[in-house]
Symmetry: C5
Subunit: 74 residues, 5 copies
């Protein structure tokens, strides 16, 4: 995982960390991170409109969200 | 299928089992399991906002849900 | 196409036929069939929340729906 | 692009042309065509619930829609 | 990235730039650009109904949206 910085952005994109997450399938997705995850952490993500629904009171254009960190002894 | 444990998680993620499900196509998805499925069981999953819609009264950030177990003699 | 039987299922999954449909792309999807399609029939499917929206008055956890059968002389 | 005919169809599927559209990625999708496109025309499509949202006052089970034709000198 | 021109289009498609964006995974997507991005710029996109939700007061048939430009020193 690596952090992405974007200064030029649409106004409705919430402030917060955007991380590049490697998928098991081999691809990558850029996800919003409300949990403060670190490099090398294994995380759960949710995609699509479900990710946007996490943000209350705003229509956030976010289609990938980190929802949990997988316990190391899983 | 294997169970995933996540202690550090967003609050809106419902309590309950998260299982790694192998797809016919070769990939994997982590799905919420309301049925208590076991290792080796063949299951049906639904994905996307339809999965989140299963949870009433909350906006659950869940994009994959086990909706049934396939009968062995199917 | 083959029929899938699932006795252990979430309550909100509507009664009705579930068929395994082969996609042109090579994969497979399990779709709800409101039309009574038969083995070997070529069908149109719709996926995602659009499929769930077919069911009125319920929040059906269905993410694939057969919406038509392709005429043989198409 | 080729036209698809479907006589046996769910009632909520709007009347109109259904076209097979080849994707750049190599796959194919069957899309509703409100623009009257012809064989060989390069088109823009939109997929998912956004496609269904095009139809006002009905819950159309359409998950792919032609939204424009690409100008030849693009 | 290259710009796409479409004169023949559905009325609900908002006026504005449509850009062809190359994905990390190798594919391509045509996205609406509210930020005025240029050739060679690395951008963030959001897909699906989340992209359409960006447009207020209209049901825009847009399933891909540029939401930010990645800072060069990211």
């Amino acid at each position: 995982m690596g952090r992405i910085w974007s200064t030029k952005r649409v106004e409705s994109l919430p402030q917060g960390a955007l991380l590049t997450v490697k998928l098991e399938s081999g691809g990558e997705v850029i996800a919003f991170d409300p949990l403060g995850c670190g490099e090398g952490e294994e995380v759960l993500i949710t995609q699509g409109s479900v990710a946007a629904g996490y943000f209350e009171g705003v229509r956030a254009p976010v289609d990938a969200l980190i929802i949990g960190s997988i316990d190391e002894d899983s």
